[in-house]
């Protein structure tokens, strides 16, 4: 499929240009965003500082001393011609996650709100294969989309001041995983020992936009064993398939 005629160029001041494909959370739009990002990086256009894919748009950060808004728009327009959503092949991950109620602090509440039992919540959440739409908010934090409608919940009315690192949380039919302790308003279902952000790794983020993620439920005991291994730097989490994606800056 090609990009639609709805593509818009929007100025975000004189140092960033937004290429907007739509206004929805949609896997096809996301694939177009990622494809454009890869194509633009491949051109090596001087003055482009970095590209940031989001759900439905690509933000291109640039140096206005090397490139004007008009120049950049002229350089991107031909890349949109025949832009193929199918170019992206992200990695496939199955991350260990412990859905014990001592860690999945909102399991009971989500079960209550969604009309499911706790075991149904765990089953439907862990078995869903979600797409990493983008990374944002905190270093290494992925926004995963593609949960069933039972998880289309608004955020918590009272956000937590401290969400424990590794927390797997849902809202709006999406999942986020908090790499570090941070404030957060999403409903916590589980905790993963997988190190999402590790400065000793290149790149330090485990996941990247375009990857697909599901969760493998583990017992509390297994979670503790894996966590200890992660703390010792000995837990290696690898994708299920060999990466087949383009260069990322």
């Amino acid at each position: 499929m090609e990009s639609s005629s709805q593509t818009r160029f929007l100025a975000a001041g004189d140092t960033a240009l937004v290429v907007e494909f739509g206004d929805r959370v949609d896997a096809h739009l996301s694939a177009l965003v990622l494809a454009l990002g890869q194509k633009l990086e491949a051109t090596g256009l001087p003055g482009v500082v970095e590209v940031v894919p989001t759900f439905r748009s690509l933000m291109v950060h640039y140096d206005p001393l090397q490139l004007t808004h008009a120049d950049l728009q002229r350089a991107i327009a031909p890349l949109l011609q025949g832009l193929e959503a199918a170019e992206i092949a992200g990695r496939r991950w199955r991350l260990p996650a412990c859905y014990d109620e001592s860690l999945g602090l909102d399991l009971a509440d989500v079960a209550d709100r969604s009309g499911l039992s706790i075991s149904q919540v765990i089953e439907r959440h862990s078995e869903s294969v979600e797409l990493v739409y983008m990374m944002g908010f905190l270093p290494g934090l992925p926004y995963l989309g593609g949960l069933p409608s039972e998880f289309a919940l608004p955020r918590r009315e009272n956000p937590r001041v401290k969400v424990p690192p590794g927390s797997v949380a849902v809202a709006m039919a999406m999942t986020v995983i908090y790499p570090q302790e941070s404030p957060g308003g999403w409903h916590i279902l589980a905790r993963t020992p997988a190190p999402l952000w590790d400065m000793a790794r290149t790149p330090p983020a485990l996941l990247a936009a375009g990857d697909r993620v599901s969760f493998a439920p583990v017992s509390l005991r297994e979670y503790e064993r894996l966590s200890a291994a992660a703390a010792a730097g000995e837990l290696r989490v690898t994708p299920e398939e060999v990466p087949a994606r383009g260069r990322r800056a």
Binding site: L10, A11, A12, G13, D14, T15, A16, V18, E20, D23, R24, V25, G37, V49, E50, V51, V52, P53, T54, F55, R56, S57, L58, M59, H61, P64, L65, T68, H69, A70, M134, M135, G136, F137, L138, P139, G140, L141, Y143, Q180, S182, M199, P203, P204, A205, A208, A209, R248, A249
Partner: protein, 353 residues
């Protein structure tokens, strides 16, 4: 160990900053860097460093530091505090002071006591050679929220030792710059968008026709404004998250603008009514909580011309370096005796510096 700068007292919020760490926003990593890159460049120029070498960003109230190296060359630019030169411990105070925008050589045991800033909320203390601290993702900038960069990813604390790249420096003529004009524009220039269509025409008139007050709740991540609320259009105040630029003005449900600064998040889900132009960002970074701010919409070509003009100003800075005319440090006792201190200060204020 080539020596260190020892932190005796840390000041209100002193962090190591350079020109930031672009290139990792797609992994969720904020860019960070100096709130006022013009003053950072000036401080580095004075000590002979490249423009982007990491320096101490001082907010509001300066630190006291002591030299634990054979000799160092330092300079401060930005908000102008009093800077007392401390003698080695146990020696009588000389009452000597260092002026901002002047380099000086200090030797082992001497110290600097940097007071409250005026004229800007930030100042930069640069040291010849810079700090021997490993960059994180290509930058020494401190991002406290994610605990990366700088010294252990945090603000300075009493007792910290900041390792130096260079443990000694030769005597040479010290240099000075005319103080930068730190006055902020009466109207900060913005380019409307990318989501100005999430506001009613009345909402946009409110933004462009009102004077706002900078909230005390502002920080390196965002400058919160108090004043008339902007009216969102029927499209509402939630958008599907998209990218955030330096200077993006996001407007959450309460209608009050937040200007996103150095430590801004990489993406966000509130509509962004406009973006401050890059040439006006250093001035914005200098503004104190409680100050008034108003906006003027300009087109992208005007923003680009302003960016080129600022770059030309910065490039011209080196040509304004001059040898220090008096002794490298001011002897305050002597100046007081000659009743010259207030004259110096007033001359600077009169020149708009």
């Amino acid at each position: 160990m080539k020596g260190a700068l020892r932190v005796v007292s840390p000041g209100l919020m002193t962090t190591l900053q350079d020109l930031g760490r672009p290139g990792y926003q797609h992994l969720g990593v904020p860019v960070s860097g100096a709130l006022d890159h013009v003053s950072l460049r000036a401080a580095n120029l004075l000590v002979g460093n490249a423009a982007g070498v990491g320096a101490l960003e001082i907010a509001y109230q300066g630190p006291t530091v002591r030299v634990e190296a054979d000799s160092v060359r330092i300079a401060l630019a930005g908000g102008s505090p009093t800077i007392d030169i401390l003698p080695p411990e146990g020696e009588a105070s000389s009452g000597r002071r260092l002026a901002p925008y002047e380099s000086a050589r200090l030797v082992r045991g001497q110290g600097l006591r940097i007071g409250a800033l005026s004229g800007s909320s930030v100042a930069y203390l640069a040291i010849e050679g810079g700090f021997d601290i490993a960059p994180v993702l290509g930058s020494q900038s401190t991002l406290i929220r994610a605990a990366i960069g700088g010294l252990e990813g945090r603000a300075l604390r009493a007792g910290d030792a900041l390792p130096l790249k260079q443990g000694a420096t030769a005597e040479r003529d010290e240099v000075m710059l005319p103080p930068l004009d730190l006055t902020s524009r009466a109207r900060v220039r913005i380019v409307l968008g990318p989501q100005e269509d999430h506001f009613t025409p009345e909402g946009l008139r409110t933004l462009l026709g009102s004077t706002y007050t900078i909230s005390q709740a502002s920080d390196r991540m965002g400058m919160r404004l108090e004043g008339p609320a902007l009216e969102h259009s029927s499209k509402g105040y939630n958008i599907v998250s998209d990218g955030i630029a330096h200077g993006s003005i996001q407007v959450p449900g309460n209608g009050l603008p937040i200007i996103l600064l150095a430590d801004r998040q990489t993406t966000g889900g509130y509509p962004k009514v406009a973006t401050v132009i890059s040439a006006d960002l250093p001035g914005l970074g200098r503004m104190m909580p409680g100050a008034k701010i108003a906006f003027e919409a300009v087109d992208i070509e005007t923003a680009e011309a302003a960016a080129r003009a600022l770059a030309a100003d910065i490039a011209d800075m080196a040509s304004r370096l001059a040898p220090v005319r008096h002794a490298a440090v001011i002897d305050v006792t002597r100046l007081m005796g000659e009743n010259l201190v207030s004259g110096v200060v007033n001359a600077r204020e009169a020149s708009g510096a």
